[in-house]
Symmetry: C2
Subunit: 202 residues, 2 copies
């Protein structure tokens, strides 16, 4: 089993962090997305969308999309659980995972892609939208700061996949100079706590 990975990109980092939390070792194969190696026929045969990460099983079956790879490993190795165990825990973790994904991670990604033109050889950047996406990300960080005043982690007392998604997004947001504000003390407390985990270095 191996994972096609890009060490510097925020999306595959989520999977590396998830697997580090579970103590699962997988071989990582580096793909250079700057030169477009991910768009090669070899990679597109594994994921027609040409995106990393891609998990390849020993029989050649592939699973793409970071959250899908996490769901696969959670089912294979349920402990420690990062997606929840009871229906309510599963629902609340999924709620925060989805919020962190759509209103933070995606917004940061859109801000990056549309503001910097980094991938302008393969998509049409719309700078005005990039700016809006950055504003959306900052709004969600404000909401998260308020939420974390009453909650240790995003989905309550237990660290979960939602924390990984939000943490990797906040980290990557610094590239666009979107930072935790001095008054966002609860967001900062949570960020420091997650940063201190061994998995943050995966």
């Amino acid at each position: 089993m191996k994972i096609y990975d890009t060490q510097t990109a925020p999306t595959p980092r989520r999977v590396r962090m998830f697997l580090a939390e579970k103590g699962i070792d997988v071989e990582y194969v580096q793909i250079d997305i700057v030169t477009g190696e991910n768009l090669s026929p070899a990679i597109r045969a594994k994921n027609p969308l040409g995106k990393v990460p891609i998990l390849e099983l020993d029989d050649g079956t592939t699973i793409s999309e970071s959250t899908a790879i996490c769901h696969y490993f959670e089912a294979l190795h349920p402990q420690p659980s990062l997606l929840g165990e009871t229906p309510l825990e599963i629902g609340l973790i999924s709620q925060w995972q989805q919020r962190a994904e759509l209103y933070l991670f995606m917004q940061v990604g859109m801000c990056f892609q549309h503001s910097t033109g980094y991938f302008k050889d393969r998509m049409k950047p719309v700078p005005e939208y990039g700016k809006e996406a950055g504003i959306n990300a900052q709004k969600f960080m404000h909401l998260l700061d308020q939420h974390l005043a009453q909650s240790t982690y995003l989905a309550g007392d237990k660290f979960s996949i939602a924390d990984i998604t939000a943490f990797t997004a906040v980290d990557f947001a610094r590239v666009m100079k979107i930072r935790i504000q001095p008054e966002q003390e609860d967001l900062q407390r949570w960020y420091d706590m997650v940063s201190a985990r061994e998995s943050a270095r995966a």
Copy 2:
């Protein structure tokens, strides 16, 4: 237990269709998103993001985000499974669910919001981005047509949440005149098959 719903919106439709497939009856409370009822303090107390659907349990606990509500009900009522049972099935369904969500459902939604200015009282539409999102949705429909030439449903032989996400997106795309093309015979075959399900009328 009740669900705050908007009958005409595509996102809550996913939950209604999911629950209809499982044969679960829930009380639905209609929220008027056109007049902004979803942004009222009463709804924001249930979901700070002011979005429907919202599941409210009898003890007042709320779960927002359509996929999170689906995960909750799948854990409570595993059969018929719409999220997969083995690790591989779970992984592949999640892969197609995520692809359908990010590259089709979201793109259709962004095309609608940014092209029509329907919610211009609460967000800043960027028409140029709306157009790009529509093009992205059409590209994914092309990829889906190719995939469905070799697969009955999105994630193989079994109907899943990924089909619900893609189906509700394709249906809503017609509002922006994005339609299945005459040559997309496999996409049309799949669409007709899903349309014929009782749950498509939920």
